[in-house]
């Protein structure tokens, strides 16, 4: 660094041959506070950052049709109904007869769906999902997810009928 000789150091007037130079300052800056602040900011951003942005699951529902003749008919051989009970219980039956109700859980339903998918003509296959009043939102999302996982193209979400609800209740009570 350049140092300026003001010449005012000596009040005596006459200059000595060896002019007194200002002591050379060190160019190194103490970085510790800056680094402290840097780490503080890092911890702040680490804690506030949101990793794993939420994803969106598309749900397209059909319009409510009042007239029964406008509704789609389901072939008995291709129908597969999944009923969601309370406490993560899952029930299912093939065809259109609720009396053939069988009990399973979220692990078991995947195999049943895949089995049905293999054994059925893809054009006829329709999955009918009926969540009961005890089913949670997670159950509903999980079962819709199973549809995506098994790549089922046609599925519908329908309200549970009182008859089926009674059956679900009865099966739940029996298994306790």
């Amino acid at each position: 660094m350049a140092s300026i000789d003001t010449g005012g150091g000596d009040s005596g007037g006459h200059k000595k041959p060896g002019v007194k130079k200002a002591k050379k300052l060190s160019t190194k800056v103490d970085m510790t506070p800056m680094v402290d602040l840097g780490f503080l900011l890092i911890t702040f951003f680490i804690f506030t950052t949101t990793t794993a942005l939420p994803t969106a699951m598309k749900l397209y529902l059909p319009k409510d049709v009042d007239k029964p003749e406008e509704q789609n008919k389901v072939k008995e051989s291709g129908a597969f109904t999944i009923l969601l009970g309370g406490n993560d219980n899952v029930f299912y039956y093939e065809g259109l007869d609720p009396a053939k109700l069988q009990s399973t859980n979220f692990k078991g339903i995947r195999d049943e769906i895949l089995k049905k998918k293999k054994s059925t003509n893809p054009e006829d296959l329709v999955m009918i999902i009926k969540p009961s009043e005890e089913a949670t939102y997670k159950n509903t999302v999980d079962i819709l997810d199973e549809m995506t996982i098994a790549e089922i193209k046609r599925y519908a979400m329908v309200d549970i009928t009182p008859g089926e609800y009674a059956l679900v209740k009865a099966t739940e009570a029996a298994s306790k």
């Binding site: 840097g38 890092i42 969106a56 949670t136 939102y137 098994a150």
Partner: protein, 203 residues
């Protein structure tokens, strides 16, 4: 020490750029996970959040349309809101009160609003209750432009609460929704897993 400081500042810069602040929410909602890979759109979103007690909250991201929405609601539902309450609505992150309490909620300061436990928008019937009007006027505010309807419900929300929210949309002829979920991988060996493997192999 210099290399460490260099690295530290690099990390700092990364986090500063990558950070996206969480929007404030009145509802404490733990979302379920799904295998869906689509991201939630970040603009023009109308979100209905349902917490585990079944309380419903609405939020809309665009303040311009929020103003149109509240002005519409003010007229159609006779809320009797003044300009100050409308301004307060534009700043509030989410609303979960019945129409008859909306005026008193909006006249509070924002700290008081945060402290207040909101009872939720009534959605207790199969026509969607008051949420129906929220959805209707949000659609009116967007007047034909694309509005993404998102539903964000808690893991333990019971199905009827969620069904009534769906009903509020359906009575407005809206049949396409986005369910907000956390990402998850497709389980190995399933058809979806196989398809995704093929796709990533083809790339």
């Amino acid at each position: 020490m210099t290399p460490m400081v260099d690295l530290a500042f690099l990390i700092l810069a990364f986090f500063m750029l990558a950070t996206k602040f969480k929007p404030e929410e009145a509802a404490d909602v733990k979302i379920p996970s799904s295998v869906s890979a689509d991201a939630v759109p970040d603009k023009d979103v109308f979100t209905v959040s349902v917490d585990k007690e079944g309380r419903a909250f609405v939020s809309m991201d665009n303040p311009e349309f929020r103003q149109v929405l509240i002005e519409n609601l003010n007229k159609t539902r006779n809320l009797g809101l003044g300009p100050n309450e409308i301004k307060s609505f534009i700043n509030i992150p989410s609303v979960g009160v019945p129409f008859n309490q909306l005026k008193s909620l909006l006249s509070l300061t924002s700290d008081q609003q945060k402290a207040l436990k909101q009872p939720g928008i009534p959605v207790n019937d199969s026509l969607g209750g008051e949420l129906h009007f929220w959805v209707r006027d949000a659609l009116v505010a967007y007047s034909g432009r694309k509005l993404n309807l998102c539903i964000k419900a808690d893991n333990n929300t019971k199905y009827p609460a969620y069904k009534n929210v769906l009903a509020a949309f359906k009575t407005n002829d809206q049949n396409k929704f986005l369910l907000v979920t956390a990402p998850e991988d497709a389980p190995a060996g399933t058809p979806l897993f196989v398809t995704r493997q093929k796709k990533s192999g083809a790339k």
